[in-house]
Symmetry: C2
Subunit: 222 residues, 2 copies
DNA sequence: ACGAGCTAGTGTAAATATTACACTAAACTT
DNA sequence: AAGTTTAGTGTAATATTTACACTAGCTCGT
């Protein structure tokens, strides 16, 4: 069966940059391609948007199909449309980024045998297509949003300590923060609350556990 | 001639929200549609992306063809892809916004007899397709960027007075600013310089004319 | 049981940035 | 010369941000 049009139409895909924090650094999820072009190269999860499907829906469907990741924060990033970015035909990609707490990082088992792996962002392998540019754009966006939104919370599980939260900010901002000033600031924002629980963890004083007041929302702050 | 594919492909368009400042308010440029669907409704300038054409190029080409506007600040906004947003076929729109100083606002004469008009943003007519949502998204983006970038300069001609600059900020931010504090702030930013010229304009003290240090660039500030 | 080692948790003072506010300057008109 | 209009300027009060050092409470080894 063929689908025909009066004028040439591009293909439209969504690609998703899935970020997590692991090994004290920002990581992205990549898939090793099984097919040409760029066979055996690493690439972003993603694929063609169904003809009756919303872009957001397409992105989260692809994410689930290829990496088994669901229910995470997903936001449209930018649309990449250089005419020659795919050697087969004109392909326009609506890029998304997703943020996932490290605990959920068991997606690798999923998928049809394709190799799926986390890579530290300052140690990426060569990527297929223009995916490097997409990843770079996504990283810039996340760093920028860390400064004026509650996006960093999306990297944490439901309960977390203030030290863990500070660690996430430090990794995203690539700078060290003062512990007392950070705590003063985050408490003044009024976006976390104590759970009453504590976490005993190693041979030192246990830490209070907090949770986000609006864990599903990213608010603009400041 | 027909163009056929193994799988259905959406059409891809660019639509551009062209902003200016006139009559003391933010205005957008609209075109009255000559054809169905939404015949005689107002809509954003825009059109199909050529198959070999970059998205940015397509947007500025459409802008020039339909409104005769060229050489302005143009930035990708967001991609709108609801499956039913066009009744004819699946159409995905990569929306852009453009900023143009009021002096250049002679685009109306252009175009193939189509009616082209500026509308105040708080007095928009009903728009075709989902163009209202696109305009709203663009307005939010501009307001937000006014706070942390030099985007406001794009609404001014090459030479301008500090009072004019303040007026642009006030319109975009929808709030009044203190004259002395504004001047202190803008001079501390170090992004304008005196031209040495003055403008005599009405029965009062003439104002010094300034120009932007990097008129073609939008910098992140603060 | 106590000391070593570790991370959690806390306050204050100095420096910096932001806000509020009112008059003089220079042109034009009558 | 007086009236009107916008341009242009500084200072003091307030709020925000930064820098900085010790005690609390757990585990482990002796």
């Amino acid at each position: 069966m063929k689908f025909c049009y009066e004028y040439p139409h591009p293909a439209v895909t969504t690609d998703i940059v899935v970020f997590t924090i692991g090994d004290q650094c920002l990581q992205a999820l990549l898939i090793k391609r099984n097919n040409e072009p760029f066979k055996d190269k690493w690439a972003l999860p993603g694929g063609f948007v169904d003809i009756d499907e919303d872009l957001d829906t397409g992105a989260s469907r692809e994410l689930e199909e290829e990496t088994n990741v669901t229910g995470v924060y997903l936001e449209q990033l930018y649309t990449f449309g250089q005419p020659d970015r795919d050697p087969r035909e004109r392909v326009i990609t609506v890029a998304y980024y997703a943020l996932i707490p490290p605990e959920k990082l068991t997606p690798v088992a999923a998928s049809d045998a394709a190799e799926v792996k986390w890579f530290a962002l300052d140690n990426l392998p060569p990527l297929a297509f223009d995916h490097r540019a997409i990843v770079d754009t996504a990283q810039q966006r996340i760093s920028a949003k860390t400064r004026y939104s509650t996006i960093a919370f999306q990297f944490l599980p439901e309960r977390f300590t203030l030290s863990e939260l500070q660690g996430v900010f430090e990794i995203l901002l690539r700078e060290n923060l003062d512990k007392r000033n950070f705590r003063k600031w985050i408490l003044a924002l009024n976006c976390v609350e104590e759970t009453g629980e504590i976490r005993r963890n190693g041979q030192h004083r246990p830490a209070k556990l907090y949770c986000a007041k609006n864990p599903d929302r990213v608010d603009i702050i400041k």
